[in-house]
């Protein structure tokens, strides 16, 4: 259940970029979560809403971009999605492969509603 501590880390990052009354303007926080990042997206969303419920971030939401697990074969060069995170190339069978994507856990950006004072 480390999604709770991951959610805290996300909130900490948001608070580094947005402070004080502006926190209430945060509409969405876009995060990139790899298929094999070890994070359960439902748990992460639940944890995020639980820890922000009574705070200035209560009306913000997490937008999760799920990133597929893709490997690149060092032998034939094929890029493939493999089931269960297997590292063997499904095209030529070589085991020398590199992970291209699918292990990410990143905060991409924050979307803020415009402040009335700035909009005047």
């Amino acid at each position: 259940m480390h999604e709770l501590s991951i959610a805290h880390s996300i909130v900490d990052i948001v608070r580094q970029y947005v402070q004080g009354p502006d926190l209430k303007l945060v509409r969405s926080i876009r995060v990139k979560v790899g298929e094999h990042s070890g994070v359960v997206v439902d748990s992460l969303e639940f944890s995020f809403s639980a820890i922000t419920a009574e705070t200035d971030l209560k009306s913000s939401r997490l937008d999760v971009d799920r990133i597929p697990f893709v490997i690149e074969c060092r032998s034939c060069g094929a890029r493939s999605r493999t089931e269960w995170g297997v590292a063997r190339c499904p095209v030529c069978g070589a085991s020398e492969t590199a992970v291209v994507s699918g292990t990410e856990l990143q905060v991409l950006d924050i979307e803020l509603e415009d402040t009335p004072s700035e909009g005047s």
């Binding site: 094999h36 070890g38 269960w84 085991s95 992970v99 990143q106």
Partner: protein
């Protein structure tokens, strides 16, 4: 609407502290392993067997991570090595900061090998870099041979797999060859050892390898 671009790893703060830990290890010429596994696979037993054979050959220190109790630190202290217990109070993994705090209680200059035993959990510890040189994943035969496929992140991020309780193979539904093949299908560069902490099978091989890594 306005957008603030961040593009920052969620665990960037942990990674920064892990990098500081790593720099400290480098300064003290300390080789550090992070031992991970599910609960009950024999991490502490493997560490005890390792200390039995290595503590006379090179100075070793140990950090124990558990959700509750200092039972493991008590077991390890019997081998007359410096040991610090981290109690996470419910936390399911060690983080770099917890290790950083524990390091202040150790004389790093006096050690050559530091063994960190993580909380028993095959999921969460794989996300958290502690600054170690090597993750050692222990999988015991009593857990079955499918664990690498069910928990791939842990096996992908590890450098060494220790297949423990190898003496129990006749009594459990586990084929060590399949276990090894499953692990290598996730991470072909894994170095694999087979051990039994009860009979001592394979422990010398593992210890000699670890000794060589720690001395180089």
């Amino acid at each position: 609407m306005s957008v603030i671009t961040i593009e920052r790893k969620v665990l960037a703060r942990n990674d920064e502290i892990a990098a500081a830990n790593r720099a400290l290890f480098r300064k003290h010429k300390l080789f550090v392993i992070n031992v991970v596994s599910s609960p009950g696979s024999g991490k502490t037993s493997l560490i005890e067997q390792t200390l039995k054979r290595l503590a006379d050959r090179l100075p070793v220190a140990v950090i124990e991570g558990d959700v509750q109790t200092d039972l493991d630190a008590q077991r390890v202290a019997r081998y007359s090595v410096p040991v610090v217990q981290i109690v996470t109070n419910g936390g399911c993994h060690l983080e770099a900061k917890l290790v950083q705090d524990a390091l202040s209680a150790l004389d790093l200059g006096a050690a050559q090998l530091l063994i960190i035993e993580n909380v028993g959990n095959l999921v969460c510890p794989s996300n958290y870099d502690l600054g170690e040189h090597l993750k050692v994943v222990v999988a015991s035969t009593t857990e079955g041979d499918d664990k690498p496929l069910k928990y791939p992140a842990m096996f992908r991020n590890a450098g060494v797999l220790v297949v423990n309780k190898i003496d129990l193979v006749p009594y459990v539904n586990c084929d060590p060859g399949t276990l090894r093949a499953n692990a290598l299908s996730i991470n072909p560069s894994l170095i694999v050892f087979e051990t039994s902490c009860t009979t001592g099978h394979g422990i010398d091989l593992w210890c000699d390898w670890l000794f060589a890594q720690s001395s180089s």
